[in-house]
Symmetry: C2
Subunit: 144 residues, 2 copies
DNA sequence: AGTTAATTGGACAAAATTGTCCGATTTGAT
DNA sequence: ATCAAATCGGACAATTTTGTCCAATTAACT
């Protein structure tokens, strides 16, 4: 499964994106309450997202985190995950073998690789914007 | 991803199953060398597989682990995983929310749930026997 | 009977992940 | 200028996962 860190990252971005308006910023506390996460840990993750240039931050009173409309539209879910846990997400062998490939497949490769590939494509093709405007039907859930 | 413990469990069983003959037993050391895993940790995992009644063990000189032909045929990969890490594997939300369902979906549910379901079905429909007789083509890899 | 080879079970250790705390810095408002 | 509110960075702590060690037990062989 996804690491907690990545989960918090995605949830944070969904909250910030879904509520972004011009001139509005969200503090760590705002985000942590909205997504029901430990504040100090969430702070670290927001810092990583700033470093990855997905969001921007403003220090000092009245400061906080924002995301631009263009980032909402362009940021793919897969990019968020990779920003947090590096590149090894998309390509790892189900059994942990060092190089997963058709040439040197493990016994479950045939079963696993196509599904992993579909998940990767899905995460690559879905942006924050897609998720927050999810055909409007059901209001989504970030807390549980 | 899968836990190391589950990975070692699957690899151990594949090795034992693929090499099983009447009267042959494999020691912890045999298995650990074959699948390139830490012996003491592998020992714990083999104990869990004995507790789950997937393999049997014989203590003392000449002892070791065996698997019956019927277990090779009947043991599904999903059962191995659940024997090691419990039931929460098949149903967890991608974002870690406590109950994943159509009724109360998180933003990525629509994308993730069907793929998770396909993986579950795949792991449910594949047995040890299927994996070790993988249409014979490529000899598979358990070490890396 | 004694020795050897093996699993079993328990306690322990190391590493990775998750989470906390606090001082330094920056910014806005009084 | 001072104060309050906020991020930033670093060190630290707790928890989970991974991994080790060893004594106890069991079984085969001589
Ligand atoms: S080699 Fe194991 S999934 Fe590809
Ligand atoms: S609710 Fe998140 S994957 Fe189903």
């Amino acid at each position: 499964m996804l690491s907690k860190a990545s989960q918090y990252a995605i949830k944070s971005l969904l909250f910030i994106s879904a509520n972004q308006q011009v001139g509005v910023r969200f503090s760590v506390k705002d985000v942590a309450i909205a997504i029901d996460s430990p504040p100090a840990f969430t702070s670290k993750i927001l810092q990583q997202l700033v470093a990855a240039k997905i969001i921007t931050s403003v220090k000092g009173s009245g400061g906080g985190f924002e995301i631009s409309t263009s980032k909402i539209v362009s940021t793919k879910v897969i990019s968020i995950i990779k920003a947090i846990e590096g590149d090894h997400f998309s390509s790892g062998c189900f059994l942990g073998l060092p190089d997963c490939s058709e040439k040197n497949p493990c016994p479950v490769h045939k079963l696993y690789a196509p599904l992993r590939e579909k998940l990767n494509q899905g995460l690559y093709n879905v942006t924050l914007d897609d998720l927050i405007n999810n055909k409007g039907k059901q209001p989504f859930n970030l807390k549980g």
